[in-house]
Structures are given as structure tokens and as C-alpha cells.
Symmetry: C2
Subunit: 228 residues, 2 copies
Amino acid sequence: MDTSTYHNKEATEARAIPPTPRTTLKRHPERGHVEREQIDAVLDAAWVCHLGITTDDGPVVIPTSYARRGDELLIHGSPASRLLRSSATGIPICVTVTHIDGLVLARSTYHHSVNYRSVVVFGRATEITDPAAKAEALAAFVEHVVPGRTADARPATPREVKGTKVLSVPLAEASLKVRTGGPSEEPDDYELPVWAGVLPFTTSAGPLVPDDRLDPSIPVPDYLRAAG
Amino acid sequence: MDTSTYHNKEATEARAIPPTPRTTLKRHPERGHVEREQIDAVLDAAWVCHLGITTDDGPVVIPTSYARRGDELLIHGSPASRLLRSSATGIPICVTVTHIDGLVLARSTYHHSVNYRSVVVFGRATEITDPAAKAEALAAFVEHVVPGRTADARPATPREVKGTKVLSVPLAEASLKVRTGGPSEEPDDYELPVWAGVLPFTTSAGPLVPDDRLDPSIPVPDYLRAAG
């Protein structure tokens, strides 16, 4: 994935998120970005985040699926989930989304690094409780993950909507950090007879695995066909 | 990746990590595992975790690389990193490692799910300060990520060792949660004319991208050849 366009851009675009002390990078500031377009691109290319909350026993970090809808992140799950119940009280939370793009193999062990894109969102969640708004959020969720799916799969019943907790986290305090490119070596190390470069990572989807009970006459829908 | 062997095993093996209240799953207990062998397999198949700490402003969750060495996780970085400096004070931290294995496409939007493997480690870090022990930990780090690399790349100099903060987190309170397999539907939904199954995800490495300044006479080492 080409992330080189993220580099060395001035953070002056109209839709930039105003930096705060905790979203301002002290180290490698050149890796930091606040432009919404770039933050959205990273958020829209994934659907699992790591959600962190603080408990009496310390921090808890749990993977959970999410969807971006405009200026908010939607998170959902069981009403019994402690993570969701705690987040719904409006305590500070942190939502982090990370893509690992490659391993940077330097001539020295010290300068080995990782190419990545990571968005960190700080905020407080609000629970969406209105049944119609919840149903809409749940549909947005499925569309974020599999565009086209909501026209096909059975929508949530009122009971299922009631049985799902939906939270909204504003995309108001967030930062994007990106590393791209090859190793940065000590000047003398370029002479070493050591292979150096980048080992890129790519995540691919498919081939599809039909459910054991799938009626074989049901074709693979167009929106899944690319995944074969 | 076949994770079916994780399912329905009794947590009675010799090397199980004793469950604590916060590593005991209240929901989907069948997805929980405490066997060290299975926890290690998940930890050893990745090298980026999400590290959570608590600050005065709330939780902070940041991706960082790690290595498992026996009964500990090693984390390292710049001595200027706030995340590392805070963690080094011995505050409670949480380290989470997640593999996303597939998207579960149910006939109803409600039963859509994700196949995943995730290890959550709770604990307090200890800083490794002895230079020889640090150098050894840094080598273990590189070997965890790229086995064979330490025999090739230039080892860290005393100054580089000094310029790296290395933390050890005991693998003492941890849990593994796994979901595998196809959708679990409402009984009536099996009749719906909707494609259902799993869209698996696979991460692949390569092809290698040589550094711009790489001497072309230097061959790709054996330990990287599989990545081509």
C-alpha cells in the first residue's frame, strides 16, 4: 500500500483536527498528521480497533470492531460487556487503529523498524439509545465492513436492536502516525555487507468459505465476488 | 490458519496460567483459554502489540513491537517515549495481541461476527538496566521478528544499548480468546436466501524491497528467501 503521500505534508488543510498536547508528537514529529482525509483513510481501511479503558485495576485493552460514520466512530456489542458498559458511562477512552505495512530491515539491529499507519482517538463515548438511531447505526456498521451487505442480510429485529449496546465516539481529538520507506542507517553502516530493505505485508481476503448449511443454489453476491 | 484445535479444550494442562477474576470470561466462556502453549502460539505469530497505560487524562493505547522470551514479553523503544517511561515505573499495564482471521457473514446482520485470536496480558513491567542483559534482550527481539537476522546485522553498540529502554512484562496473568467457524444463526434464518459463510483473511509477506543504497552484489539471505 502506498502511504508515501502521507509524508511531509503540512497540516494546514481545512479539515484538520486541532492538535492537543497529547496528540502532538514529541518524537518523530514528521510522522504525525492531523488531516481528516488521511485519518479517515486509515480508519476506513480497517474495522477492528483496540479500545482502551481505565479500571480500578489498571488499563484494559480489548479488540473490537468499529465503523466510522462521518465525524464519529461507532462501537457496539453486548449490553453485558464490561468494556462497553464502562465506556458508556462517559469515562475517557482511547481507540487505536493500526495497519502494519512492513518490516524495515536495517544493516544494524538498532535501526530495525516497522512501517505502519496508526490512528489514536481520545474521547468519551455517548450511548445511542433511540431504537431507530440504533438500527441505523447497526446498518452503518455492517456497511462499513461489507458495503452492500445490508441490502441482502436480514435487518436487526427490534429485540436484536434492544439487545445491542451502541456507542458513538466523536472524532474530535485524534492523531495519525505513519512510517514509510527504507531503513535510516548510521552513515558508516551503508558499507556493511548486509542485505537491507523492507519486507512489506499485505492482507488478503478470501477465498470464501460457505457455511455448512448454505443452500448451494444461492450464488455468491456481487459485493463479495472480489473476495472469491 | 486452522485454529479449530483451540476449541473445547479443557484448561487443565500443566502449563496453564491460573485464571484471575479479570482473565475469566463472563460472556462466551467457551472462547477462553489459559493454556500456555496456545497463548504462546498466538504471541509468537505476531510482533506488534497494543500497549495500554493509564495517565491522568485517561487511557492511552499505542502499537509497539514486542518479543516473547520464555515467560516474559519484551518491549523496547526510545528512553524519551512517555509510554515506556510510564510503564517502567511499574504502573499496571495491559498488552494485547490480536490476529484477525476472518469475517463471519451471517444471514442476519445481528449475527455477523469476526473470527480472531487475541491474548490479553495484565501486569507491571520491570526495566532491564544491565547493559549485557539489555543487549541480550535486544538480540532476542530481532530474532523473534526475523529468526536468523542477528547473525547477519551489526549488533548494537554500547551507546545504542544505552540509548534503548527495555522492559520486561511477566507472562503471569493472561488470557486467550478465540472465535472460529461459521455463523451462529437464529433457527428460522437458515431458510433465508442469503449467502452465508466466512471471508478468511491472510497476511502475506513480500516481495522484498531492497534499500536504494543496497549493493546489488549482496544476495538475499536464506532467512529472508521465503519472503522473496
